[in-house]
């Protein structure tokens, strides 16, 4: 099973300035995940204020550029890990170094076998995917 651990730093985005100590602690944690064979992927995200949103309301599409009002509740990055249970993923999440103010969310990643047969059928794409799907 795969889980995504998402980190919400819990401080104003403008204050996201990790110091060397924080980065070193995170690096050590990531190495521990790697050494345990549990880490599949990870990424840190640029500030949401530098991103943009597309919002649909009653069929109306609005494009919003950052910054956004609720700048404390935005995702800052994620890990994808392999674990046998939510509890195991939570054990890894508990070990993420914290400065005292943040939130971690752990969610299981869907696998094809989680879907009923007719959904799997619908997911059956073309045998010849278009060129742009290959990097």
């Amino acid at each position: 099973m795969r889980f995504m651990m998402m980190i919400y730093p819990g401080i104003e985005e403008s204050e996201w300035q990790p110091d060397a100590e924080t980065v070193a602690a995170m690096g050590k944690y990531n190495e521990e995940l790697t050494r345990a064979g549990a880490l599949l992927a990870l990424d840190g995200l640029h500030a949401a204020s530098k991103g943009a949103r597309i919002v649909y309301r009653d069929g109306q599409r609005t494009i919003l550029d950052g910054p956004f009002a609720e700048s404390k509740e935005v995702i800052g990055g994620y890990w994808i890990i392999q674990a046998k249970s939510l509890e195991e993923a939570m054990e890894w999440a508990k070990r993420v170094p914290s400065d005292g103010n943040m939130m971690l969310e752990v969610r299981q990643i869907f696998e094809m076998s989680d879907f009923p047969a007719e959904v799997q059928e619908a997911a059956q794409l073309s045998q010849t995917p278009p060129n742009q799907t290959s990097a």
């Binding site: 099973m1 790697t34 050494r35 345990a36 064979g37 549990a38 599949l40 992927a41 994808i80 392999q82 674990a83 046998k84 249970s85 509890e87 195991e88 939570m90 054990e91 890894w92 696998e111 094809m112 076998s113 047969a117 799997q120 059928e121 997911a123 059956q124 794409l125 073309s126 045998q127 010849t128 995917p129 060129n131 799907t133 290959s134």
Partner: protein
């Protein structure tokens, strides 16, 4: 926290912590069996204590301290005290007094302990089944029940295998150490073999109704990744990881809606797992950057990479795959490699060329009861238009395989031969 929640949390902690816990204890006690018993004692203590006290902030350190107390008790309780053991007890007591945890030790010590444990569990003095069971138990953090379920054998069988394996290791006085010099290569080969066996049992189950046991593949992948980080200068360790990641990337394309197997060239490649393909290609790259030519796992990973890179089956670079199989036949000759080489040659140079190589394998005693030989030969015969012989081979393959899903596939192909033969009575019909 309710009791079942604590149980699940303890299980999770155990899976993460038990390998290095057992490894450190094995070094201290000079005995893997004793180390595992002590770790189990600590686990039982956790199950008794944590529901009341809550799970400690550093559960690994808690387990280690508890296991050390158990070790001291055990040594003191044992009537046949020897000086050496008394010394171990004094060391442990001193460490506990200082509040030192082995798990806080620098990475090097933990790494050496884990490697020592891996080499011990995969020691050639043990039979294959024992090595697999011990490795899953001590390094994979699996319970006896889980191992039994994965291998469809009674729990008692697995328990007995583990008990016997521990006894064998003790009687053979296998030292707890990382082999060096000339000894390293064969010992490492034994470790890689065990991990790959576990992976293959998950990927192409040899018994039972299910064709795939993904959990076992994940266990093997995890073990492989751990090993590769412990021996980063060993190309074959990275190559094995690459081979497993690339092979596992095809998992969800490998079975159809009814659970039936879908062969590589018929798979919907949009279902291949790009995350695992990327990881596999990077691991192969790591193996290739290390000095020396590719070994058996490296060559197999390079072949898997050829498939992974082909967006469509028709884009597969069969000439390169045939060349890689040529190299593989040199470094690790086996009838099975020959058979795969024949398939690649058939794809690169036509079915008749492949059939020639397959027919040369017909008298090979090692393949006499190998269902894939019959299935490949059936396929090539079908493609050169010898439908009757093809049907007979598919039927033979169906009779030889122990896997129910695979048997159905073979019988379906045999039936298809028959109907196609009727259809091909039309004069102009040619197919290859």
């Amino acid at each position: 926290m309710a009791a079942p929640d604590v149980q699940r949390t303890v299980d999770a902690v155990w899976r993460i912590e038990s390998p290095r816990l057992i490894a450190a204890l094995a070094r201290m006690m000079r005995d893997v069996g004793v180390a595992e018993d002590l770790a189990q004692d600590a686990l039982v203590a956790a199950l008794e204590t944590w529901p009341q006290s809550g799970v400690p902030d550093n559960p690994g350190a808690w387990l280690m301290a508890t296991a050390k107390h158990c070790a001291i008790d055990m040594i003191r309780r044992d009537g046949r005290l020897r000086d050496k053991q008394e010394q171990i007890a004094r060391d442990l007591a001193a460490q506990l007094a200082l509040g030192r945890s082995e798990l806080d030790a620098v990475g090097q010590q933990i790494g050496d302990d884990l490697l020592g444990l891996i080499f011990m569990c995969c020691h050639p003095v043990l039979g294959t089944d024992a090595r697999v069971a011990l490795t899953l138990r001590m390094l994979g953090g699996l319970t006896t029940v889980e191992i039994a379920r994965a291998y469809l054998v009674p729990e008692a069988t697995v328990a007995q295998r583990i008990v016997r394996a521990k006894r064998t290791l003790r009687e053979a006085r296998v030292p707890f150490e990382v082999p060096s010099g000339d000894e390293l290569a064969p010992r490492l080969a034994s470790v890689l073999e065990v991990i790959y066996l576990i992976f293959n049992e998950g990927y192409a189950a040899t018994v039972g109704e299910d064709w795939l046991r993904p959990a076992l593949c994940e266990d093997a992948l995890r073990l492989g990744r751990v090993l590769a980080e412990l021996v980063p200068r060993e190309p074959e360790a990275h190559a094995l990881v690459a081979l497993m990641e690339l092979t596992a990337s095809r998992t969800s394309a490998r079975t159809g809606p009814g659970g039936e197997p879908v062969l590589l060239l018929d798979q919907d490649r949009s279902r291949w797992d790009l995350l695992l393909i990327g990881r596999g290609l990077r691991a192969l790259d790591r193996a290739q950057r290390l000095p020396g030519p590719l070994g058996p796992y490296g060559l197999q990973a390079a072949i898997a990479a050829c498939h992974a890179r082909a967006r469509r089956a028709e884009e597969t670079d069969w000439l390169r795959i045939a060349a890689l199989y040529d190299a593989l036949a040199m470094v690790a000759p086996s009838p099975v490699v020959e058979l795969n080489r024949a398939v690649a040659v058939a794809m690169g140079f036509g079915p008749a060329a492949g059939l020639e190589l397959v027919d040369a394998l017909a008298g090979e005693p090692a393949l006499a009861r190998y269902h894939l030989l019959a299935s490949v030969r059936g396929d090539l015969l079908e493609r050169v238009g010898r439908a009757d012989e093809a049907r007979a081979e598919f039927e033979r393959a169906a009779a030889l395989t122990g896997n129910a899903r695979e048997r159905e596939l073979m019988l379906a192909r045999a039936r298809a031969c028959q109907s196609r033969r009727r259809a091909s009575r039309a004069p102009a019909a040619t197919r290859c």
